[in-house]
């Protein structure tokens, strides 16, 4: 029942983030609220950042089941992120400096390549650059949407992100040929 335990840590962490900044939450505190001790936490996770990454991965996994329809799964991912609003806003508050940002970027870049069956490591420089700034733009736009900086509906946002993504895929495929 490892995942159940992991889920418990995730729930407590998210709960603590409602009243504290990301950096202020300590592992001791998470353990205390879970009724466990540090060795148990470190059995499941390498660090607090590792726990944050796991939370994102769960949200990703939950939507990946409906794989063929990219637009629908992306909309669902955005819904999940909206539900998890506080967590994402705080974990990504330091943008480039947050490990979650880098993790999400890397994961989304690789998933994109996987989706269109292109080998990430053999991509040419310009394609890799394009993929990188588009995915970064995706994460930051979503963050800004979550923070309420822009007043856009979830459907509009998802459609716009999807359009960008579709043309990116076309571009990358063309680049590979």
């Amino acid at each position: 029942m490892t995942d159940e335990k992991k889920q418990k840590y995730a729930d407590v962490f998210r709960q603590l983030l409602k009243t504290k900044a990301y950096d202020q939450v300590t592992i001791n505190e998470i353990c205390e609220k879970c009724g466990t001790y540090r060795p148990n936490f470190y059995y499941h996770f390498k660090s607090k950042d590792d726990l944050a990454e796991w939370i994102f991965l769960q949200d990703m996994k939950a939507v990946e089941k409906q794989k063929p329809d990219l637009l629908a799964s992306q909309t669902e991912l955005l819904e999940k992120m909206k539900e998890n609003n506080v967590f994402y806003l705080k974990a990504l508050a330091k943008k480039y400096e947050s490990t979650l940002f880098m993790y999400m970027k890397d994961l989304l870049m690789r998933k994109t390549c996987e989706h269109i069956d292109i080998d990430y490591d053999s991509m040419d420089e310009l394609s890799r650059f394009t993929l990188d700034f588009k995915i970064s733009g995706w994460i930051i736009s979503v963050w800004e949407w979550l923070s309420g900086m822009v007043d856009i509906s979830l459907e509009n946002l998802s459609q716009a992100l999807y359009d960008v993504f579709s043309s990116l895929i076309k571009e990358l495929k063309r680049g590979e040929k």
Partner: protein
């Protein structure tokens, strides 16, 4: 009327100070001291120091547009040239995560420019919600591409980047310039 040469004096001062400290550590009194002005004069010109910092880009933009008048791609190369020659400062400002970052100031302006286009040139864009989304994404991609390029993580030339910006941009540079020049009481 605010004088452009005075604004240049202020941007030169803040640029100098940004070489040794982050923007949130820069004090308005320091800036004024370097310019031989006082706080009253500062606030006549700018809302706050973040507003002043955004003028670094604004002046670079206006200068680049004046240098190259014909093709959008050339104008974009000129803009990137100016950004690159001020690399350290731009990286500092663009990577800033605070609420008053250059990013949020530029976005605020972009929203106003979209409003301006909607009013003055309705044939070009109405900026529906979908278009607003495109604009946000396009804006963030523009910033991210510049940050990655300045960081030197990819071997991408200035020409290649200017080309990407030209084909992907949602708003033409002319309208941004028109807004920048036409809307302010700058002489």
């Amino acid at each position: 009327m605010r004088s452009i040469s005075k604004i240049r004096k202020y941007t030169a001062a803040i640029s100098e100070l940004l070489k040794s400290k982050p923007l949130d550590k820069v004090r308005i009194s320091e800036i004024c001291e370097m310019c031989g002005t006082d706080r009253q004069n500062f606030y006549y010109y700018f809302r706050d120091k973040y507003d002043l910092a955004s003028w670094i880009f604004r002046l670079d933009f206006i200068d680049a547009m004046k240098e190259k008048k014909s093709y959008e791609e050339d104008q974009r190369i000129a803009i990137l040239e100016k950004i690159r020659s001020n690399k350290m400062i731009y990286l500092k400002l663009l990577k800033d995560n605070s609420q008053n970052s250059l990013r949020s100031y530029l976005w605020e302006k972009i929203e106003k420019i979209a409003e301006h286009i909607k009013e003055e040139h309705p044939e070009i864009g109405r900026f529906t919600n979908e278009e607003k989304c495109r604009l946000l994404l396009n804006f963030n991609e523009w910033i991210e591409s510049i940050v990655l390029w300045l960081d030197g993580k990819y071997d991408v030339s200035m020409q290649e980047l200017a080309h990407i910006h030209t084909i992907e941009s949602v708003i033409e540079l002319e309208y941004i310039l028109e807004y920048y020049i036409g809307r302010d009481d700058i002489g």
